[in-house]
Amino acid sequence: MAATQPTNTRLKVEFAVSLVLLAVVAALPAVVTNAYWQGVIIVSMYFAMLSIAWNLLAGDTGQFSLAPATFGMLGAYTTGLLSYYYGTGAAIGVPAAVIVSGGIGLLLGRIVLRLRGPYLALTTLSFAEIMRLVISNSIDFTRGDLGLNVPGIFQGRLPYYYLFVIVLLATQIGLFYLLRSRAGLFLRAIRDDEIAAASRGVRIVYWKTFAFTLSAAISGLAGALYGHFAQFVSPELGLISQTGIVISMVVIGGLGTMVGPLAGALLVYVASEFLRDSGNWQLVIFSLLVIVFARFFRQGLWGILLSAFNRKPARPAAPATATE
């Protein structure tokens, strides 16, 4: 029997589909010529990056942090503050945002190392709120709720559009190689059973910190790019409801897959734009969808799609682990 690597096959399929999706997004401006809607897709790509980053941390490593939007905000403010005080542009601001966000993510990761489940959620939630409150109250330093103006990079929408597509593509490619490597094995082992992983020699401290740092860095990158696109940043970027949106996108799309966060973000954000016209019911509907999906369709839309295509004979149900 030929040596197969089953988890890698799953990964390859997910990666391929996500590439197709990105190709579709790249081709869209041919059809979608309205600048407003191009902007909508750009913002959805910002959320896609946040979703991918959160999925890496929560879906692949099992660390359910409630601070994804916070790192987006931190990245945006890094580049915003640098330009406000030193007049720098994206060339300096964006890399700085990655470093600063990544650095804070590393610290947070070290701090929450020993926490699990609700304790981890509560700590990251508090961290998120503290960050937002600090930025919004430090009016002298950050201009608080007034926000900061950030210089743009290009003229016109399309260049931003393709900048986001390229960055998204690079992120997905990087992630694919990461998950295929031993790093992917270790992260998912930590997710599935941290104690077992430790007893098999996986360096828990290193890899958990790694996940937090990388996730934060990607979010920071997204935030900085968003800042230069919208040319404005405010503490609202770090609101808990923004984190709620990111979580919705990933859960609805498919937690723990390479396609889920991307597809979820695009779908949810674009759909929410349509819903905006009919009275702002987005958050109601999406939170309800998250509840339904979490309750009944854990693998999200991607999982539903897969089972529709597979139609293999029903596998024996996973044994209920008595973990009380």
């Binding site: 270790f186 998912r188 082992a189 599935d192």
Partner: protein, 239 residues
């Protein structure tokens, strides 16, 4: 120098003394059974050996070097690998990947790990299900998989906690056959088990614990006919 030296180890949980001044040594290449009634401290001792618990006093030495207080992942890389009483695996990863995790974590290159994983799967008759997620395997198959993980890189000492509990006789055969052949190659084992026939068959030497203390440490036959041991199991002075 013994492979593993346990010296005056004690561990208490609140007022309960789980391990009371336990000492024994294991030479390289030995296959030792660790027996005793429920609650005698066997699993607690194993937890201390594998780094999941710290002991209150005493020391443990691996090849002469103290290993008390080291974390499980560090101990694993020193060659101390274990099975858990309640089988632990990575349910959302394939059986193959379950083995790969250990291999890569212990320093094997990707291709070496792949080769060893395939060989292990073959030796354990698990090749057929290597593509299934560990969570979809039967209880016995999961146990066999966890068992196999200990041998991706030949361990300095393998700690097996109730490997035969609730396992199908066929799988039991596979496991004990594996243990026997590896032992013949010089692999050191500690096997915790309630399955007396298997302990007699596999382990030349046994250590018996009761209420946290080591009450017997000799050849298995002698231990099993030791009055103190029998009393411990049937209740009496020691309980």
């Amino acid at each position: 120098m013994p492979c593993l030296a346990i010296k005056n180890v004690s561990k208490a949980f609140g007022g309960l003394k789980a391990i009371d001044n336990a000492s024994f040594s294991i030479e390289a290449g030995e296959l030792v059974g660790l027996i005793g009634p429920n609650g005698s401290g066997k699993t607690t001792l194993l937890n201390i050996l594998s780094g999941h618990l710290s002991c209150d006093s005493g020391s443990v030495e691996l090849d002469g070097k103290p290993i008390t207080g080291l974390r499980p992942e560090v101990l694993a890389r020193h060659g101390v690998l274990r099975m858990f009483q309640l089988t632990r695996s990575f349910p959302r990863m394939s059986a193959f990947d379950n083995l790969m995790v250990t291999g890569c974590a212990l320093g094997l290159s990707q291709s070496d790990a792949e080769k060893r994983a395939m060989k292990l799967l073959e030796d354990l008759s698990l090749t057929r299900i290597m593509g299934l997620d560990a969570g979809q395997l039967s209880g016995g198959q999961m146990k066999l998989l966890e068992f196999g993980s200990c041998f991706m890189v030949p361990p300095r000492i393998a700690l097996l906690d109730e490997p035969f509990a609730a396992v199908h006789p066929t799988l039991k055969e596979i496991m004990s056959g594996f243990i026997r052949s590896r032992h013949a190659e010089g692999q050191t084992f500690i096997v915790v088990s309630h399955d007396m026939p298997v302990v007699v068959e596999l382990c030349p030497r046994s250590v018996c614990m009761n209420a946290g203390r080591v009450i017997a440490d000799e050849t298995t036959r002698k231990v099993l006919s030791d009055k103190v041991v029998i009393e411990a199991y049937l209740g009496g002075a020691a309980a």
